[in-house]
Symmetry: C2
Subunit: 343 residues, 2 copies
DNA sequence: CTGAAAGCGCTTACAG
DNA sequence: CTGAAAGCGCTTACAG
């Protein structure tokens, strides 16, 4: 593996492969008038020498490598805080980040091969995804072209070989519930995200594990949800309030949901934490700005972004990662929205 | 204007400009051994013919144009909201945004010519700056290479020919102060940003204009500041509280400053708006999340981002802009932090 | 299917 | 400061 970067010419590759320059040129340009065996030999020579076309060389010499950050937009504090981590690490590592906003629909319509080709031709060296769904075919297109992809908090489990970074959702859900149990609550409800989201499922199971290991029965009427927006907090609290035996505490699986609970509680004259204790999840700025300040399970979003970029860089360098999925620790932050239940 | 894209060669440009190919090559590569008049002639020929280097051609064929967004980081809500506008407009226009985080120091150290060359060679088509200082030499380097630059809310006035987008800071400062006057306040203080910031100066003058046209004397002890962070709100309120005749209202020239005022007021048992009315500036999420909710002068940050990108695209297309500076309207948003003074 | 030869577009080194 | 000449690296057209 003798890579003399910035020096390899097409003629050198030709010599190593034992063919002429025109033949190498044909292989590079994907012409089909080349014998398959010759093509293979040339491709090996290209890899051995580490050949780069003038365009690639220029782009590389001209500036830092480009890594794409693909998200559904910057309206969620979640995406912004992950991006901040990515951008800070990028500045340290002399990498530049290309920001693409992609709707899930667009993602499904886009031709995989086209997208992957474009990435290669524009010199992108890797991809960080903060967006829901990505088809297997799409991920394969990237892999075939040796473009490293790292997914942040994937909604559903990924095939082996696709790298992802997440947070310890189960442990976070358990920590939130344990905190409420520790304060003396036993009637603890849960408002969750969409069924399809792995992270919601993990948080819910953490919640249930905490209850069970304290010998507390799980009451289906205490579990509701459907999404991470604040609406679910409003409707969730409404449904709990209608019960004969309403909960004395709620674990909301996002800070947005918790904000909805706070709004609805205010409308109903329910005092937080006096009448109802509340724990959120995410730890974005939302949780710092509510009244009362929200006890929440913080995800290390910036660190997740940093870790994702670090993995992309290691994959770019040809490293093999120890694990295709990493979970960073969540952390319970106790503020003013939780207290012991009324006697 | 005969643009035969994908056909123009350097030799054609040379013929049109009446020079040799090597000379055109020098201009393209930003060499300095070219007479200024020759350079101009060649640049006109380049523009007329619509010349693209092989690299640019390849990059363009491969994907959407790249525009750089340069900021000091994503920790300010200000930068994030501008960026959101840019990214949304970029998605509509099929443009991709490269996010660069640059410290002012780094900016000063970086070699202008290197940076500009890198932009051309990596196919960047324009630049949006949300960062304080940019030397005249730097801006010249961009102009020499026909890279459109748009500055968001420049700290100091720019040379003619450099395009910028801002908000009506003077009018906003006046509107904030008029609102307080309208409620019956006459002892109105101001906490401002750094002396060097144009936008602070404009807001301060708007404040003073409102007072003067109501026949109210300007009291130097009612004017303080030094930066836009919340610390200045804390120290500002402290200094006003120490006065024999403290103000009954404060106009803070950023939401962050206002947050500092709220914190310090809480510590001192000063009720807002009961004892003290407060107006902020910016209208970022901060102003929505405070307790009480903040009356503030909103800047149309997303629209400013969109306008900046639109200007870059027009300049890329060779349009001449009507004006090298545009100010978008600010808007007073009345919430819960202002009321009539105690009798 | 392959490669010697010609060609293309740009850059470099240097004489004036 | 400019450009004729040489050169570089790749591609194309075509003979075998």
């Amino acid at each position: 593996m003798t890579k003399v970067a910035g020096k390899a010419t097409l003629a050198m590759v030709a010599e190593l492969a034992g063919v002429s320059s025109p033949t190498v040129s044909k292989v590079l340009n994907g012409r089909d008038d080349v014998a398959e065996s010759t093509r293979t030999r040339v491709q090996e020579a290209l890899a051995t020498i580490g050949y780069e076309s003038p365009v690639q060389r220029r782009v590389r010499a001209a500036g830092p490598p480009l890594v794409d950050f693909v998200c559904e937009g910057l309206s969620s504090a979640y995406a912004v805080e992950v991006l901040r981590g990515v951008v800070e690490h990028a500045a340290d590592e002399n990498i530049e980040i290309v920001l693409s906003q992609v709707s899930p629909e667009l993602l499904r319509e886009t031709d995989h091969e086209d997208w992957a080709n474009r990435l290669v031709e524009t010199g992108r060296k890797g991809l960080i995804l903060v967006t829901s769904e990505m088809s297997e075919a799409q991920l394969l297109s990237f892999q075939r072209r040796n473009i490293p992809v790292v997914v942040i908090d994937p909604k559903s489990p990924l095939k082996d070989g696709v790298v992802s970074v997440g947070a310890t959702n189960w442990a976070g859900g358990k920590a939130a519930t344990d905190h409420l149990l520790g304060l003396g609550h036993s009637k603890i409800a849960y408002i969750g995200g969409p069924e399809s989201a792995e992270c919601h499922v993990a948080r819910l199971h953490g919640y249930m594990a905490a209850l069970r290991s304290n010998g507390i029965e799980i009451r289906p009427e205490y579990i509701t949800g459907g999404g991470f927006k604040s609406d679910y907090g409003v409707t969730g609290l409404a449904s709990f309030a209608a019960l004969d035996d309403p909960p004395t505490a709620i674990f909301a699986s996002s800070d947005s949901i918790a904000v909805g609970v706070i709004e609805e509680a205010r409308r109903r004259g329910i005092s937080i934490p006096g009448d109802l204790s509340l724990v959120g999840f995410d730890g974005t700025y939302l949780s710092r700005q509510t009244m009362p300040k929200l006890t929440t399970v913080a995800q290390p979003l910036g660190d997740m972004g940093r870790a994702a970029l670090r993995s992309v860089l290691r994959l770019m360098a040809g490293d093999t990662l120890e694990s295709h999925h990493v979970e960073l620790a969540t952390k319970l932050i106790v503020r003013d929205s939780t207290t012991a239940p009324r006697a």
